[in-house]
């Protein structure tokens, strides 16, 4: 169980980024996190991962993973948790992979660091995982540079890495926003199939939130303004931002349905 209790974070120049954020994420559960851009969602990820060094100052609250507070853990321990214990799906995988290194090399490197296996085993696991995210031509994918693959394929590669390592908690930062319709549906399906750990799903994509998340938190200016079970939130939104979000989502869902019958 990952519990974030009244977490408050300030940036180096004193701007308050998060103020008493509380959130619970259980294994096998998917919690949605949405809100206007700049509400502090990415800051939350950076704080959990603990990779921002001196840029972020924890001014209050705590993050407990399976009963142990990770804020007290040493820098080395926290970095060891990244990848192994906390998985991550980037928003724009076109810029997230090293563009001058072949995809296969980057996958194998991640596996070997997190699962301490030999190169051959890592290569085997990579191929198997790529097939799982139906990138069947594994050799071509692994021998090409990120620039030679489409956004959708790269996002699936990122997913395959997560499936290979099976982290206890998976943080997804707007994984579907840069994708077109089919890839979006495909990635949502892959995410729904991931039961080996809790997912913190950050997104604007109402459809994905409805189909994936059991409960949703809405953030505004670093504060959680509403946190409910998904169905309840869409039926009776309280906060003005949530209301507008739900109306817009509702209207676009209805129009898409209409348009589909027309064709």
């Amino acid at each position: 169980m990952l519990t974030i209790a009244d977490l408050s974070v300030k940036s180096r120049d004193g701007k308050q980024l998060l103020s008493n954020v509380s959130l619970r994420l259980d294994k096998g559960e998917c919690v949605g996190l949405t809100g206007a851009s700049g509400a502090g969602k990415t800051t939350l990820i950076r704080t959990i991962m603990g990779t921002s060094g001196k840029q972020l100052l924890i001014s209050g609250g705590d993050i407990q993973a399976d009963g142990k507070s990770i804020l007290e853990a040493s820098y080395k321990e926290r970095r060891a948790m990244c990848g192994r214990y906390f998985g991550f799906i980037p928003q724009n995988s076109m810029t997230s992979f090293f563009s001058n290194v072949k995809i296969g090399k980057q996958i194998i490197e991640t596996y070997r660091l997190n699962l301490s296996m030999t190169a051959a085993e890592a290569h085997e696991l990579a191929a198997e995982m790529l097939r799982l995210v139906n990138l069947s031509d594994t050799d071509r994918v692994m021998s090409s540079y990120p620039g030679q693959l489409s956004g959708g394929m790269l996002q699936r590669v990122a997913m395959s890495i997560v499936l290979g390592i099976k982290p206890t908690y998976l943080l997804a930062d707007e994984p579907t926003s840069a994708l077109d319709r089919e890839n979006r549906a495909l990635l949502t399906e892959l995410l729904s199939g991931y039961k080996d750990g809790g997912i913190l799903f950050i997104s604007h994509d109402a459809e994905a939130i409805v189909s994936l998340c059991s409960s949703v938190c809405v953030m505004e200016h670093g504060r959680i303004v509403e946190s409910k079970e998904t169905g309840l939130l869409f039926r009776a939104p309280q906060h003005p931002w949530t209301k507008a979000f739900v109306n817009a989502a509702e209207r676009s869902r209805r129009e898409n349905a209409e348009w589909k019958q027309l064709r």
């Binding site: 060891a80 990244c82 990848g83 992979f97 001058n100 991640t110 660091l113 997190n114 890495i161």
Partner: protein, 319 residues
């Protein structure tokens, strides 16, 4: 490296550019010599103390081939130059090609030696700059580097000679053999260039470390050192190489002044003597050789920049 059609076209264009550069520069040098206030024939006669009269002038000018119209002179010179025959110097009658080659050897040694020292220093000071970028020491180093850029190399050279050699008697002004002949000249370039590139390397490393790819690597469990040495450092270094080559071209042009200070008979020395003695064959040949070297440095910078931008997107912070 995949030789796509685009790259082949690119290389052909670059070769065309080298040829064009050389042609333009040699035309300029011909035109300028023609316009030059002092006539080569006159200077020749003066040197040999023969009285300058109308017909002696006419005779020497015929010998030198200066009486034909400019373009004919240029074509003759070019056709001979292509075969490597640059004619004989009007001053010491030695074959121009020989003097050029030996002069070229000197200058290139200085530039390459300087290049090696600069590369080493850039990596060391650059990484130092990066490591203590948030500390006071980091700011002091980059301020120092910034000031070093404004110190002229010829001053360092002259101070070396005045203080170290004359005052302290270390080394000697003329006649030290082997590498010691070029080392001081090469070293006088090093501070200025290294001071320019070291902070640049540090900024690039910081840029590479702040990219999305570095963040995602951290989330995938790669340690800070691993990202720095396997990805950020190489990427930052590679993205500096193009402008480093252009800086070598600048050093080549600067070498002309330095060679005078150390009186090393390199290309610069040759240009100066060719000009002061009004010796067109030497002037044209040296300018041709200088143009070739400079454009080769420049072209290699462009080619490297293209290779970088093609199969990788190591966009640099700024050149």
């Amino acid at each position: 490296m995949n030789l796509t059609r685009g790259t082949v076209v690119f290389i052909l264009r670059k070769i065309l550019e080298v040829i064009l550069t050389v042609l333009i520069v040699t035309v300029i040098s011909f035109v300028l010599v023609q316009l030059s206030p002092v006539d080569a024939a006159e200077a020749y006669l003066q040197r040999n103390q023969t009285p300058i009269t109308a017909e002696t002038l006419e005779k020497t000018r015929c010998e030198m081939g200066l009486n034909e119209p400019l373009h004919v002179q240029y074509v003759n010179w070019l056709s001979k130059a292509v075969t490597g025959d640059f004619g004989r110097s009007f001053v010491n009658n030695k074959d121009v090609l020989q003097t050029e080659m030996s002069a070229f050897a000197f200058t290139i040694k200085i530039i390459l030696l300087a290049g090696i020292f600069e590369a080493v220093l850039i990596i060391l000071v650059g990484s130092l700059c990066y490591v203590c970028r948030n500390r006071i020491s980091g700011h002091i180093i980059s301020a120092l580097c910034f000031a070093m850029i404004s110190i002229p190399p010829f001053f360092l050279a002259s101070e070396y000679l005045d203080i170290i050699v004359v005052k302290m008697g270390v080394g000697s002004v003329v006649g030290n053999a082997g590498i010691m002949r070029y080392l001081p000249a090469a070293l006088s370039f090093v501070p200025g260039t290294a001071a320019f590139f070291a902070p640049l390397l540090a900024t690039n490393i910081t840029y590479q470390m702040s990219l999305d790819s570095a963040d995602y690597a951290r989330y995938r469990g790669l340690s800070e050192k691993r990202i720095l040495f396997r990805y950020a450092m190489p990427a930052a270094l590679i993205s500096i190489i193009p402008s480093f080559f252009q800086m070598l071209a600048l050093n080549l042009a600067g070498a002309i002044v330095i060679e005078q200070v150390f009186s090393i008979p390199g290309l610069g020395y040759l240009i100066m003597s060719g000009v002061t003695d009004r010796d067109p064959p030497v002037i044209h040949a040296t300018i041709l050789l200088l143009a070739i070297c400079l454009s080769l440095f420049n072209i290699s910078a462009d080619v490297i920049r293209r290779i970088i931008s093609h199969n990788t997107d190591l966009s640099m912070v700024h050149t």
